[in-house]
């Protein structure tokens, strides 16, 4: 237990740095509540999972993106945070299920369902504006997607995963603004990673490989809106300049 407390403190220190990175002039009660929910999710994951090192890395990457986005004043006022609260509660609850296939199916179905409810209930706008930075964001999530794909066995797991990914990617690409959809996808991939890191016989990666999702996670921090964030917008801008369009 003492070891897990040490892990918890290390993670909290990084979350504090992420908070400082993302926070703006405005502090929000809603962001505070969501942060508490997220800490609860972290607590359940640390308590439940046996593969503690890999679990911590996953939580660090997720928290870095989540906390830095949540406290940025651009996002603070968004009503999507209520949907995120529901997603977090679902993900936290999933950690206590024992069956991997069941977890995967429930998580994929519930989160995809929440996305669809949000779309049709709130009448969000559609469009291809800012597709470039969104494309970069999806590329940044690709390494984790590949690691998860390689952890899955059987048609059932892969099909469910692809369907849920498809729903997310369509929303990321088409719906404006994309912050919530990218955060939802991050939480979904994080939730799946926490499941599969516990699965027996799953490929274990060397330490240096974890640098790749770490850098990708850094590139997704402080999600803001139309341009996704500074990293993705800057990367797309750089690509356009190199190609000679801008």
């Amino acid at each position: 237990m003492r070891e897990r407390v040490k892990y918890g403190f290390s993670i909290l220190a990084v979350f504090f740095a992420a908070f400082l990175y993302g926070v703006d002039e405005q502090l929000s009660f809603g962001a505070g509540l969501l942060s508490l929910l997220f800490f609860l999710y972290v607590f359940f994951a640390l308590y439940n999972n046996k593969n503690i090192q890999r679990t911590c890395y996953i939580l660090l990457f997720t928290g870095g993106i989540f906390i830095s986005t949540l406290w940025d004043s651009y996002y603070v006022a968004a009503k999507e945070r209520y949907y995120l609260a529901v997603v977090l509660i679902i993900l936290g609850g999933m950690l206590f299920l024992r069956n991997h296939k069941g977890k995967l199916l429930m998580e994929s179905a519930v989160i995809s369902g929440i996305l669809l409810v949000h779309t049709f209930r709130d009448g969000v706008s559609f469009g291809f504006d800012g597709f470039g930075p969104k494309f970069v964001a999806l590329i940044l999530m690709l390494p984790v997607g590949i690691m998860l794909w390689r952890s899955m066995t059987g048609i059932f797991e892969k099909t469910v995963f692809l369907l849920a990914l498809g729903v997310h990617c369509i929303h990321v690409c088409l719906v404006q603004p994309s912050t919530y959809w990218i955060l939802s996808l991050v939480l979904y991939l994080s939730g799946l990673s926490l499941i599969f890191v516990e699965k027996e016989g799953v490929k274990k990666y060397e330490d240096w490989v974890w640098c790749i999702p770490c850098i990708c996670a850094l590139g997704l921090t402080m999600l803001r809106g139309e341009d996704v964030n500074y990293y993705c917008a800057g990367a797309w801008n750089l690509i356009m300049k190199v190609v000679g369009v801008v």
């Binding site: 220190a13 400082l20 770490c214 850098i215 590139g219 921090t221 500074y230 800057g234 750089l238």
Partner: protein, 402 residues
């Protein structure tokens, strides 16, 4: 074995270049500030002034080339090329350090390099620091360190020091420690008399020349340049982004000899709140460093103690800058750069005591921090360092605390 080494080197180069692109995408704003373009207008035409070498070079090239370079576009592309060159030279330095170090230290070297890269990569890419003279000082410092590492043509350190001082006299406080400390160490520790004599001469002449130049530039160099004022303003404007901007305090200080202390009052107020806040935010690293020094110096004989004590004590050269000036971001970067570069340098030289202290410190860290890589991830959120401000994150916390 050789094939494996080549493969690792290849992976490192690719990872480094990808990271460079990553940080450029995030922080590069395709823009040079008026302060950084005005530096190219300072020339020896107006007297033997400090920070005049770059402007002199620029004016000379403008006269020699068949096309004019007294414009923003030329200065921007030149600065971009220099920035990329600096980052590539830094990569080469890392590769040389790893190649020269013992294989058992490979893991430690990589971790130190990753930590240093987190600070180095974004530092001179953001709009505040892009094109700043510091980058030339670090290029020259890296060149000197490579000469010391390879133990070839070390006499070149003296002209390197002179050129660095002509670019910016702050070199004596911010970068000279990186060159003097290894030489001082060798003077005390080497058994080879010829080598000791060599470093006494090179170190002595290096120290003397940079000291004389510093005193001159600090107290005697400010030009009575009122007659050139209009010409300098015109050049500075021509080099700026919008054809109008230029830095008033820089020209007032260097050309008219005016004291800018009063103008820096606001920055001093930032320094007062940021400094203790930075100490708080970076306290884990400070504690690690202090513990590392304790391990390094424990049980050493007097001469060895003096030699190894010089390594951490090299940091104190930054203190005069912190008292006299206000660029705490640059000094914080200089301090971190010094500590990590000296660790890499001495491990590359195969110093057993530094290697032992680093290994023991790693074991000590694992006792209280079960995920040591959090020490790297934590820092990623608190950079880049700026010039006057240490970093935006430090400033945010400082404002809440104070």
């Amino acid at each position: 074995m050789m094939k494996n080494e080549k493969k690792q080197e290849c992976i490192f180069v690719i990872a480094y270049l990808v990271l460079m692109g990553f940080y450029f995408a995030r922080y590069f704003e395709y823009y040079m500030t008026g302060y950084n373009t005005t530096l190219f207008a300072m020339s020896y035409r107006y007297g033997f002034i400090s920070r005049g070498l770059l402007g002199t070079y620029w004016l000379t090239m403008d006269r020699l080339l068949p096309f004019s370079i007294m414009n923003y576009r030329a200065v921007y592309w030149f600065s971009l090329a220099v920035t990329v060159f600096y980052l590539l030279l830094q990569m080469y330095f890392f590769i040389r350090c790893v190649k020269k170090a013992k294989e058992k230290n490979y893991g430690s070297m990589c971790q130190l390099i990753l930590l240093l890269m987190a600070f180095v990569m974004p530092m001179y890419i953001g709009s505040q620091m892009f094109g700043r003279l510091d980058i030339y000082l670090y290029i020259l410092t890296l060149a000197a360190l490579l000469l010391l590492l390879e133990e070839k043509w070390e006499w070149l350190i003296v002209p390197i020091g002179i050129v660095a001082m002509l670019i910016h006299q702050g070199f004596v406080f911010t970068n000279a420690n990186l060159i003097l400390v290894p030489m001082f160490f060798e003077i005390l520790m080497t058994q080879d008399r010829k080598k000791r004599k060599k470093y006494i001469w090179i170190g002595g002449v290096f120290f003397l020349t940079i000291s004389v130049l510093f005193l001159y530039f600090e107290f005697f160099s400010h030009s009575n340049g009122a007659q050139y004022y209009e010409e300098i303003i015109a050049n500075a404007k021509a080099l700026s982004f919008d054809g109008e901007s230029f830095n008033v305090s820089l020209i007032s200080h260097e050309i008219l000899g005016e004291d800018v202390y009063e103008l820096e009052t606001l920055y001093r107020s930032y320094n007062r709140i940021e400094f203790p806040t930075a100490l708080l935010l970076f306290s884990p690293y400070i504690m690690i460093f202090i513990h590392y020094i304790y391990i390094l110096l424990k049980g050493k004989k007097p001469l060895e103690f003096l030699a190894y004590a010089a390594i951490p004590l090299g940091i104190v050269t930054i203190i005069p800058e912190m008292i006299l000036k206000v660029d705490y971001g640059r000094y914080a970067f200089g301090t971190v750069y010094y500590i990590l570069t000296m660790l890499l340098f001495f491990m590359a030289k195969g110093d057993g005591e530094v290697e032992r202290a680093v290994s023991l410190e790693k074991l000590s860290i694992k006792k209280w921090n079960p995920i040591p890589y959090t020490l790297l991830i934590y820092v990623l959120f608190l950079v880049p360092f700026w010039d006057n401000l240490i970093s935006i994150e430090v400033y945010k916390l400082a404002r809440w605390i104070f």
